[in-house]
């Protein structure tokens, strides 16, 4: 493994983050928020200078990178961008403690949306824009952007994209070259962003609010501009628009490519994951609505409005909220916790295990049961009529085991730090799935400020591991990965 090659490309990734700070910088400049302006100027200069030094002065002969280098670059890249992304929070004085700032930055880039701000309403607007922008950059993937921008990477591009992309390796490439695929995905992402922004403007939100909500919805992030999240707007229309886009971003983006570019709607509507995703979403929403009506005495209108919105917000791992579901009946809370584990579709901007994996796991379990009474039966695992290769089945089972192992370990540590069971469990599940709000002390109207420092460290790990789907980050902890250089 060539450390030089990794530093070379890392420089460019850091520089991209530096350049993107121009947006909050200008915003703060416009609003004359001087501490924020200087914070962004310094962070931006640091990121660009350090990035360009790495990029220009560490030269590599062979431009292409190996799988090992790709995995390391993605993991190190995500940690570095979070470090640089955390600078403005500390420098402007909003978060004197760098660990808090790092938590907030990781939460942003991984599109978790868990915050340590105790009062969002009083923060600099520029800083809030940066906070949401980090989600937008991390949603489609900073490495994906890097692949789309940088030509001449060849097979290295595919290796990088695979190490970052959610849902594992795509069984079907959209285009021949990974670079074109990255461009297509970013294009779809951009179109959705612009569309939501325009619709929110029409619904009457200000430029600032539309930007904030859009940058948070499309990447399934969840950072809001106000303590009350989306409830602050108290507008049914805004909630409807956000709900639509939340559901839309929970769909595999590749399917939109077939729908819009290739005019093959069948790929979308006959996709087993898409169908199961909608089924699960509507099923969960229906159950919660009924639960709210029967056990909490909510009116039908209220139940549909708040029940559906928050269900979708949790399942797509966006983490917006319009109601305090901490006060909901136990069944609703349990369903929400379950949805935090499943997440939405693979290849979408949502986090967690993904619906397709839940499907594969369920079929795998069913097969094991069948095989228990007839061991000689050969049963292929099928999804939508196509056989799922055993390699992918194994990887899915493996990932589920890792997911639950990490969750249990995290839960034990958090409990050890003195958090109550509900808070400890939901904090871990919520950060692993990049959702944002949990239950109990980290509920929708609460925040993560009260978690002890070690706990924040654990949650930071959970967020990155969840976003990169474990393997990419866990490989770095394997001694054998480093031994054979």
């Amino acid at each position: 493994m060539r450390i030089k090659a990794i530093l070379h490309y890392l420089g460019l990734i850091i520089a991209i983050i530096g350049v993107s700070m121009i947006i909050p910088l200008l915003w703060s400049l416009f609003l004359k928020e001087s501490p924020a302006v200087s914070a962004f100027a310094i962070s931006m200069a640091l990121a660009i200078v350090i990035g360009m030094i790495l990029w220009r002065f560490i030269k590599v002969k062979e431009k292409n990178i190996s799988r090992r280098e790709a995995v390391t670059l993605v993991a190190v890249g995500w940690i570095s961008i979070s470090l640089f992304g955390a600078l403005p929070y500390t420098l402007c004085g909003a978060m004197p403690n760098f660990l808090d700032a790092f938590f907030e930055a990781v939460s942003g880039f991984t599109t978790t949306g868990a915050t340590v701000f105790t009062n969002i309403d009083i923060q600099y607007k520029g800083l809030l824009i940066w906070r949401s922008l980090t989600q937008w950059l991390g949603g489609m993937g900073i490495i994906m952007l890097f692949v789309a921008l940088l030509p001449l990477l060849g097979i290295g591009a595919a290796r990088l994209a695979e190490a970052e992309w959610t849902g594992g390796k795509q069984d079907e490439r959209l285009t021949s070259r990974m670079r074109d695929t990255a461009k297509v995905l970013w294009a779809i992402y951009m179109v959705m962003t612009i569309l939501e922004f325009i619709l929110l403007k029409i619904a009457g939100l200000s430029n600032f609010d539309s930007t904030m909500v859009t940058l948070s919805t499309i990447p399934s992030g969840g950072f809001a501009a106000y303590n009350l999240s989306i409830a602050a707007y108290n507008s049914l229309l805004v909630e409807g628009i956000v709900l639509f886009f939340m559901i839309a971003t929970g769909v595999n983006f590749g399917l939109y490519y077939f729908l819009l570019w290739k005019k093959q709607p069948g790929k979308l509507f006959k996709n087993p994951e898409f169908k199961f995703y909608l089924l699960l979403l509507f099923g969960a929403a229906l159950l919660i609505n009924l639960d709210l009506i029967i056990n909490m005495g909510a009116s039908i209108g209220e139940a549909i409005r708040y029940g559906s919105f928050n269900t979708a917000a949790i399942m797509t791992t966006t983490g917006f909220c319009t109601a305090d579901f901490n006060t909901w009946p136990p069944l609703s809370k349990a369903i929400l916790l379950f949805l935090m584990v499943t997440g939405a579709s693979a290849g979408s901007t949502s986090g967690a295990l993904k619906v397709v994996r839940v499907l594969v796991l369920a079929k795998y379990a069913y097969r094991q049961i069948k095989n228990a009474f007839n061991p000689s039966a050969v049963i292929p695992l099928k999804l939508g009529g196509n056989i799922v290769p055993e390699g992918i089945v194994n990887k899915t089972v493996g990932m589920a085991i890792i997911y639950f192992s990490v969750a249990v370990t995290g839960f034990l540590i958090m409990s050890g730090l003195g958090l109550d069971t509900v808070t400890a469990l939901s904090a871990i599940v919520s950060t692993l799935g990049n959702v944002g709000p949990g239950l109990g002390a980290v509920g929708p109207l609460e925040n993560y400020a009260s978690i002890p420092a070690l706990g924040k460290g654990v949650l930071i790990f959970c967020m990155i591991a969840g976003r990169l789907e474990f393997f990419t980050i866990l490989i770095l902890f394997l001694p054998t990965f480093w031994r054979w250089k």
Partner: protein
Amino acid sequence: MYIIIAGGGIIGSHIASLLVQEGHEVTVLEQSETALKNLQGQLDIKTIRGNSATPKTLKEAEIERADLVLAVTNNDETNMITCFMAKEMGAVTTAARIRNVDYSGYFVAPSKTPNSPRKIVRPKSLGIDVFINPELEAATEIMEILSGFYSTPVENFANGLVQIREFKIESESLVGKKLTSLTLPQPSMIVAVIHQGEIIEPEKDFVLSEGDSLHIAVPAYNMDELGKIFIQKKRTAKRVVIFGGSRVGVLTASELQKRGVKVKIIEQDPIRCDELAAQLENVDILQGDGTDRTFLTEQGVSSADAFVATSENEEINILSALLAKTLDVPRVMVVVNKPGYIPLAEAIGIDVAAVPTILAANKIIRFVLRGGVISASLIEAQKLEAIEFVTGAQAVIANKKVTESGFPKETKVVAIVHNETIFIPPEDKIIKPGDHVVIVTPPESVQTIEKLFK
């Protein structure tokens, strides 16, 4: 261009990697899961699993927008049907790897009634535009090497006026000499220097060492003079031993035999031996192990002028060639399929006579991608490409000096042929419309350069 390659074996993946480097959009169709996995690990391309001859697979590959379909599976019939289907479904150009020479001719079908005209059946009417027969190309190449005194084939440009050939540093008088101190016949130009298997940009005091090789461009009339610097005179082969009764071996043997050369074929498989004996006249067929030293000595290999290892198993080819070399056969050559084996063979001093995969890629480059009018060939597997362009009247670079025409910086302009007058290297000549220009370039820049000549 959007190019679909049917078959992801050695040839398919080699061509795919070349085309990707040139910046084309490539999709590979392949049936075997393992082959697909290998491809995905090596190349940034789209792959589809399935039988390339079926409309379902072709449809999935969006055949209707394909500019070129290359059918290079190891089955002739699959390739033919793939091309037929592809053409029917809208592909622009098709090329098929057809190893059975019987398929590439034309046939006259008997008329049904005495009065009706006889029907001529041409494979072209099956939708195949270009036939690629790597084995036949390999045999031709071997023949060319055996009949001359060079150990490497020549590449012709501008109707044969300009030639490029690879010379290996073998003779001891050259080892340890500075590159700059070589007195080459003028005009000439060294287009590439290969040192330890890599193309390098030689520094001023670069010293030649054994195993290096130089690709040199000269006018055709100077080639023999140039050759004398690098190669000791070798006698033309009168007795040749061929190891391996593969297609290449058989084609070479029958051609050699026609030219009055005494040929022995060594083949291990007794059944194949019977087939060979039935097929070839006046050729000795010997059944035995080509890596058995005693057997080779017994069959008089040490008194042969040349030993060519052409069996299907390239590892054994290299082994048996090495063995023949220790038996003092003056010229020992191997045929390998995996381009990765070329440096291996060269490292132990065996000439690689032909690499069918590269020959196939060459042919595709020459006849399919570049329209067949001009020449093109690959240097050192595929790291460099030598291409001839004809300057169009409206070309961007017409009537400009070479130095000012905006070629990419890694590109070398090797020769300009203006009305049969050859300029090597052209330095600051002005490129006129109608001039033939020979360029050596990494594949990445080919598309940029093509635009300059349009």
